[in-house]
């Protein structure tokens, strides 16, 4: 045959080879080079997961009483896949459902719409879960309705009534503890983003409910448990073709706290009483907090904040109106660990320790005049009372400001006065820091406030941050204010001019204010409780803890949390010893005497320090009462605080006394541990028992707290 024909046939053959080569190369590229990627896509294409949340763990008090429990509610769900197969997309079913549930049909349809689809209402109304998951359309349905739905299955295809667990607050002894317990809410977009692109089966899912605040949030991981996951294979039409994997849910662990519900109820009641006491004296008594800790462990036995709210308000979602109300009341955050207040004279314990640290003679004699003049300003004693030359112990007892002014002024001068470097020594600020002020205590609750220590450093940083504003205001001279009140404008301008030029200076006045817990120093009541606990236990600062341990849902011990010592405070042992010797005198012979009149101090000596902190703008001072007892063998530290509450002794003191009475079982002058609100007279050494079926063993009879036994403390 012709050459031309042969040649062209050869060309065709070569073309055929190259075509086949192309196919092999392309196959290799898709399957081997990019195979993993395509396999992942295929996985998403064909696998669907249905998650069943685990039963959330309970939160128990130290005696085993549930603070947070679960209750079952009847939930009606609709399977949208089944519904779509009904005539008219299930319009008839929805109408019948609307009638039997007595819910408008629109409402049910809103619940059925997937979030992000057309016409869907924002969460939590729309459905945030998987297409393959039945959508809950009504909860707390009464049993009769549920039964009739289940009996008339033919009329309600795809509709199911089932039991579901929701949170419940049993409130033993009416203990509220809302801020500590926290509440649940739908998982947030941020939380989902945060966990990244995980495929772990126990990852957070859009339908999950998680702890938003308090212990519910802090221990969300363990309380939540592991969801049950059914992995389904599906085809293009979404029909289930098989079950690939079934994983049973694992119930969340039980969180055992060191809180004692009965004591908590007493503390809450006594805080309310203190507020009432302030109001009866004509003060506003705006807010308050009380903390009871175990001095040797840092465990929190009770912690109360006023105002508070009913935690069950969150169940099933809070309405806009309710939320607004909560915000207006300022009841959402806890004053005990999120509120920051000037500590007033309770701070003098720290100034005393600082004096010891700075080699002042703790057993020397110091003058207590009614006033001192420093740099043209007069600093007065409380109620301008002079006591003459007195010991430091006496100065603590009568809370003499001028003694501490003198000590602070001498420290200030030694450091270099107004020209001292930012880093110059400041024994008071250093001692405050070693006692944990100015930084978070590390309590196992989210959103804790750190407080603040007034110091050279703080003042300099503050000036750096604000000098531009000050200088500009000094320049402009407050033109707006000047129009109406030229005098005030002059005052502001002068103040800002001064701040602008030497606002970084740590003046003598600053040092003096700092020494008596005034000025820029702020603390949380919890921080103050830890300070007094550290003094009580001989100088160990603990990290406060609420969680005592974890139990599995069938009662096995999962973990016990040991006390966490933060540090030995860096002050001389002699100073701690001095404080422990002096502070009981405050209760016997000083400012803490009145509230403890008649209290068996011979059996249970109480160490205390009162405080009445002046707050700019407030008509009444912040009432503080910081204490621990028994002073000779300290067990508990109690701090109570009421803003705009008057003096520590008149407002907070009597309530603290009542709490001690409840703790130690004081009746009149008799002390009987069996009368203590704590079962057995002391916090339980061991974790409570949870039976295999998950029910906790609670104290019998009066100690059970359920049903509705009035708190012992409120009887007085």
């Amino acid at each position: 045959m012709s050459e031309r024909s042969n040649l062209r046939l050869l060309v065709l053959a070569v073309l055929v080879v190259s075509l086949l080569g192309t196919l092999v190369a392309r196959s290799f590229y898709l399957q081997v080079m990019e195979g993993a990627e395509y396999r992942a896509i295929a996985q998403n294409n064909t696998v669907r997961e249905v998650a069943e949340p685990a039963v959330r763990g309970l939160v128990l008090d130290q005696a085993g009483r549930p603070l947070i429990a679960n209750r079952t509610t009847v939930v009606v769900t609709v399977d949208r896949q089944v519904l779509a197969q009904q005539p008219n997309d299930g319009a008839g079913v929805l109408n019948r459902l609307s009638r039997i549930l007595d819910e408008p049909r629109d409402r049910i349809e809103d619940r059925l719409k997937s979030c992000g689809t057309e016409g869907a209402k924002p969460p939590p109304v729309c459905w945030n879960g998987s297409t393959y998951q039945p959508v809950p359309v009504a909860s707390d349905v009464d049993t009769q309705t549920a039964l009739s739905i289940m009996e008339r299955r033919r009329e309600f295809p795809g509709v199911t009534a089932k039991l579901e667990a929701v949170r419940e607050y049993p409130a033993p002894f009416n203990a509220n503890a809302a801020h500590m317990l926290g509440y649940l809410g739908p998982v947030t977009e941020e939380q989902l983003d945060e966990q990244g692109d995980t495929t772990a089966y126990d990852r957070l899912r859009r339908t999950d409910v998680v702890g938003r605040t308090g212990l519910e949030r802090q221990y969300d991981d363990v309380l939540r448990g592991k969801p049950g996951i059914t992995t389904l294979a599906v085809d293009t039409a979404g029909n289930v073709t098989g079950v690939l994997e079934e994983q049973d849910p694992k119930a969340g662990d039980y969180l055992v706290t060191s809180i004692d519900a009965r004591l908590q109820a007493v503390v809450e009641q006594q805080l309310v009483n203190a507020i009432r006491r302030a109001q009866n004296q004509g003060y506003r008594g705006k807010s308050g907090a009380a903390v009871v800790v175990e001095v040797d462990t840092g465990r929190v036995l009770a912690m109360a904040s006023y105002p508070t709210y009913d935690p069950s308000i969150w169940i099933g979602g809070v309405t806009k109106k309710q939320y607004k109300q909560l915000i207006n009341d300022e009841s959402l955050s806890s004053n005990a660990y999120q509120g920051q207040f000037a500590p007033g004279s309770t701070f003098k314990a720290i100034s005393t320790a600082a004096a010891g640290k700075d080699n002042f003679d703790l057993y020397g004699i110091y003058p207590c005049p009614s006033r001192v003049k420093v740099g043209g300003t007069t600093f007065r004693n409380y109620e301008s009372k002079p006591y003459g030359p007195i010991s430091l112990t006496r100065a603590l007892e009568v809370s003499c400001n001028t003694v501490f002014y003198d000590i602070a002024r001498r420290m200030w001068q030694k450091a270099g006065g107004p020209d001292a470097d930012v880093t110059a020594s400041d024994p008071i600020a250093e001692t405050a820091a070693t006692f944990g002020l100015g930084s978070k205590t590390g309590i196992d609750l989210p959103g804790e406030a750190p407080g603040r220590i007034a110091s050279r450093e703080f003042k300099f940083d503050n000036w750096e941050a604000r000098k531009d504003t000050w200088c500009r205001n000094a320049e402009e001279g407050y033109p707006e204010t000047r129009k109406t009140d030229p005098k005030l404008a002059d005052y502001y301008t002068a103040l800002d001019r001064e701040n602008c030029t030497d606002g970084y200076q740590w003046r003598a006045g600053d040092a003096l204010n700092a020494a008596i817990g005034q000025g820029d120093t702020t603390v949380t009541p919890l921080q103050m409780a830890m300070v007094y606990a550290a003094i009580a236990n001989g100088g160990t600062l603990y990290q406060p803890q609420i969680a005592k341990g974890l139990l599995s849902a069938d009662g096995q011990t999962v973990e016990e949390f040991d006390p966490i010592p933060v540090r030995k405070v860096e002050v001389p042992k002699s100073a701690i010893r001095f404080l422990r010797k002096s502070l009981p005198g405050v209760t016997t012979d000083g400012s803490g005497k009145t509230p403890f009149l008649g209290f068996p101090l011979d059996k249970i000596p109480v160490a205390s320090k009162t405080g009445s902190a002046q707050v700019t703008g407030d008509k009444a001072s912040t009432s503080w009462f910081a204490s621990y007892a028994p002073a000779n063998d300290p067990k508990y530290a109690i701090v109570m605080m009421v803003t705009e509450g008057g003096t520590g002794s008149k407002t907070s003191g009597p309530s603290v006394r009542k709490i001690y009475e409840a703790l130690f079982g004081v009746k009149g002058t008799r002390v009987n541990p069996r009368d203590s609100v704590l079962v057995g007279g002391a916090p339980q050494a061991d974790l409570p028992v949870v039976r295999e079926d998950g029910t906790p063993v609670t104290p019998k009879g009066k100690g059970s707290g359920v049903p509705d036994v009035r708190a012992a403390g409120s009887s007085s």
Binding site: S2, R4, R8, L9, F28, I41, A42
Partner: protein, 390 residues
């Protein structure tokens, strides 16, 4: 059979051939058999899910196997047809196949599947795809026209080339109207290859290639192609753009093949295949089944089998002892090669999506029969050459 066999082309169709079994191209036969068995396995896997709700999930496979048996039988017949008979009857075969092509236009007979009007309804729910037979007919008719009346060394006359061209163009136009673009492309390639290998002057070859390119461009430019045709042809360029239409198919196909990796999920285990994510995966997208379930290794084995068939076909074309045999073999090489490339290429996302089956592998009775006839014709050409002592 021997009794009726004679050399008269007018009355006897089958020739007695001594050494038939000895002289067969066994490699070709075994490769074609192996490919058919391999393909049946894939068809089984692909159809299981669709048939799962039927009373007999294997019914689709059984129908496929019947087609295979009929196809092999037709192939056997094709391998034994006498050349002279074949040449003499080719015009009738051609005429019949053009008539069949027009039949879908007759009311009550045509069926439209996937936008292409190319099936003839037969009783019992069977359908016939006349364009498959048209491929055989066009190859035979062109081979007859370009191999007649001339010295083997000389080039074909322009008149013959023109006639051969016309023989190809007529069915191409009919199939174009039926929207079966894939078959049009294959027939064009076949016609071009046959004309080229016939030794026609170079200007014919270049002119035809140029004309084809201009034609396609004009068709798009003048809007002769409907929008969905253009979309189907271009969706492979940017398959992620649209997940609902043609591009969706291309995407799902690539996901299935890519997910196979080296060794695949195992037969019957491919999630894309068994989940019916890839449309018509027992036919047009059959390559996705081997790609996903048997991985790159399985795919390579399948392509290797197809390569052996093409290699043997090319060798038969080279060794043919006359121009008719060579052109028949050449036409079959071009047909099978381009159809394989188009079919696998579209699953791999490098060719436009058109509805054509993978020869010997896909389900589809007409294609299976036509391809086995082609294998038979290849054997026929080989036997002819061996007997001539080439």
């Amino acid at each position: 059979m021997s009794g009726i066999l004679a050399s008269d082309p007018g009355t006897h169709t089958l020739t007695k051939q001594r050494g038939y079994w000895r002289d067969l191209d066994w490699i070709l036969l075994i490769a074609a058999m192996a490919t058919t068995i391999f393909g049946s396995m894939l068809v089984w896997s692909a159809s299981r899910a669709d048939m799962a709700s039927d009373s007999d999930p294997q019914s689709y496979l059984k129908r496929h196997l019947i087609n295979v048996v009929v196809g092999i039988a037709l192939g056997w017949v094709a391998s034994r047809l006498d050349y002279r008979w074949l040449r003499a009857y080719t015009p009738f075969i051609y005429g019949a196949s053009v008539f069949l092509l027009l039949m879908p236009f007759l009311p009550g007979l045509g069926t439209t599947i996937a936008g292409a009007r190319a099936w003839i309804d037969l009783p019992g729910g069977l359908t016939l795809q006349p364009s498959e037979f048209a491929k055989v007919a066009v190859i035979l008719m062109m081979a007859v026209l370009l191999s007649e009346k001339r010295d083997i060394e000389s080039e074909p006359r322009d008149r013959d080339v023109l006639m051969a061209f016309g023989v190809a163009v007529l069915p191409i136009l009919i199939i174009l109207v039926q929207n079966d673009t894939g078959t049009v492309l294959i027939l064009g390639s076949v016609a071009l290859s046959i004309i080229a290998v016939s030794g026609a002057r170079t200007r014919w070859v270049i002119g035809l290639i140029g004309g084809a390119v201009v034609g396609v461009l004009l068709a798009i430019q003048l809007g002769l192609l409907k929008e969905y045709q253009v979309q189907r042809l271009t969706s492979f360029i940017n398959p992620t753009e649209d997940v609902t239409s043609a591009a969706y198919n291309a995407n799902q196909a690539r996901i299935a093949i890519g997910g196979g990796g080296w060794t695949g999920y195992g037969l019957f285990e491919g999630p894309q295949t068994q989940g019916k994510f890839v449309p018509v995966n027992e036919s047009d997208f059959i390559y996705t089944v081997v790609g996903e379930e048997l991985g790159f290794i399985g795919s390579a084995v399948l392509i290797a089998l197809l390569a052996i068939i093409l290699w043997r076909a090319v060798m038969i074309a080279f060794r043919a002892d006359d121009m008719f045999g060579r052109l028949v073999a050449t036409g079959i090489v071009a047909w099978l090669a381009f159809q394989m490339f188009e079919n696998i290429g579209m699953s791999l996302g490098i060719m436009p999506i058109t509805g054509i089956p993978l020869p010997l592998v896909s389900a589809g009775g007409t294609s299976m029969m036509a391809t086995w006839v082609a294998v038979g014709l290849l054997q026929n050409v080989r036997l002819h050459a061996v007997r001539a002592g080439a």
